[in-house]
């Protein structure tokens, strides 16, 4: 474990970078992303830095269609988020809830809020002080991936933990 953990972290960082490339290839406007992982440079960032949170911890979790249940992968990411946030107490976080475009506007505003709430509850259950957390729902209004297929929609069904 001691040996494999850094390896996994490095793998995850590589996966995140790959993910960014995929988004850029998919979106016609890769520079217009208002939230998320748009400004990643190489490397994991200094310990306790926002860069480290983005690259080594992972700032977002994904949801199934019309679901706000946490997948096992999402819980693993949130476990790491909680551990990191508990280690670096100086940060506040904003949890953004998002929906994909395959729903109506008002319902998706509510769905984004429900996803954000599920993430907040999980982080709080792992010891993160709720006073540090704010939430906002964007519904389907701020997609990161723009195209007409399932691979894009799955990237837009997300909750993003923004370290502030």
């Amino acid at each position: 474990m001691v040996i494999t953990a850094p390896f996994n972290t490095a793998l995850r960082a590589a996966a995140m970078l790959l993910f960014v490339v995929v988004i850029a290839a998919c979106s016609r406007t890769p520079n217009a992303m208002p939230t998320g992982v748009g400004n990643l440079g190489p490397g994991g960032g200094a310990p306790g830095s926002q860069q480290e949170f983005l690259v080594s911890v992972g700032d977002r979790v994904f949801f199934e269609t019309d679901s706000s249940s946490l997948t096992s992968e999402a819980m693993a990411t949130l476990d790491k988020q909680a551990a990191w946030l508990n280690q670096y107490q100086n940060y506040r976080i904003m949890v953004e809830g998002h929906a994909d475009e395959r729903g109506t506007r008002e319902y998706n505003i509510a769905l984004g809020a429900r996803r954000g709430s599920v993430v907040v509850n999980y982080l709080v259950s792992k010891g993160v002080n709720s006073q540090r957390i704010t939430t906002q729902s964007f519904g389907k209004e701020r997609p990161v991936a723009i195209c007409n297929d399932i691979s894009c929609w799955s990237q837009n069904r997300r909750a993003v933990t923004v370290v502030q």
Binding site: A32, R102, T104, R105, E106, I109, Q136
Partner: protein, 436 residues
Amino acid sequence: MTLITRRNALKLGLAGGALLAGTSLSLAQLRVVVEGANFQPLPIAIPDFASADPAFGKEIADIVRNNLRRSGLFLPLDPASLPIQVGDVNNTPDFNIWRTANVDALVMGGVERGGTISSSVRVWDTQQAAQVVGKSYNTDPNSSRRVAHIISDAIYESLAGGTGYFDTRVIYTAESGPKANRVRRLAIMDQDGANVQYLTDGTTMALTPRFSPNGDMVVYMNFAEGNPQVYLLQLSTGRQQRLANVGAMTFAPRFSPDGGTVVFSVEQGGATNIYSVGTSGGTPSQLTSGAAIDTGPSFSPDGSRIVFESDRGGSPQIYMMGSGGGNAQRISFGQGSYSTPVWSPKGDLIAFTRQSGGQFNIGIMNPDGSGERMLYSSFHAEGPTWAPNGRVIMFFQDPGGNDGPKLMSVDIWGRNLLTIPTESYASDPAWSGLRG
């Protein structure tokens, strides 16, 4: 703007009414039968309106012809093909000329622009040699398009029954820029796309505007404070304020039929419930409870009931409850999910968005959930709104990708699909009532 209202409109008595001897005003047979599989739009002759300014007379007639054509119920004949090119509202037409030209329905109009715009119109049934309707209007000199719309409504009502819907406006969300960072602001226009005005500047996102019954107040979703909150905006003054301070997020507002109440959604801790509050303030009343998403509330026209969407049973479906809340009954039972229910101003139908089989549909059903019919289907379409006569539905359609949405309309018989021209992408249309 001062305007002689439609209530003050005068029915024209015909000068020289003796010309009508032997004919009857009340027995005119001319009528568009709006329903049925064999529907055919009614051909109608509308010469340019008589005017000291012939270009103005043509402009007004063009607006009227365009309105009637876009209704799908009328087929305005090519003005150049008519036996008489300019209308005469003061004399009885020579019906034989029009019968020979196979014209059953004839509109004769005149318009003059001075300190006010004065316009008169008569609709004739050439077969019966009878006047169907005659009206005259005086309007503000800056309201030339409105006078054309009011005349269009008079023609429509006289031949198609019910009320018209041309002297109306549409408020909507104007969208611009790339999809991932799109600017969304409120805009208002006439129902035909003319006279666009932008109401918010786009620095904060604004969504789902809805008119009050008298058309002067708007409720909408404003993101200025981070999470969306419902705001009340008065169009005549530009004044606006937050509607209520309740929950983490408020959205999906809609006025009651008397304009005194707004029903809306409140989110707290991931649960979304429906509340109502008076437009002049007070403590919001909670109408639904539980952990589900309850949203999209819409009053019945008599104010006694509220239709809304809820995912309390799994997928979003349509429910009905009394306007005081409680005892909600599910009314939609088809495959897929249902959302954005909107009650017709006539009370007879509920329009909705249905997602099924990877498609979005705009449909209608009876208030008990029976008689469901799909009017439009595409990759993405949502958000129906009713014309005040309950015969036409506007909604928005989105092709997906980085393209944006546009406004479309279809009638309740599934006919006459139109795109409403807008200078930007457009979504969330809300149709006003007839302007007073």
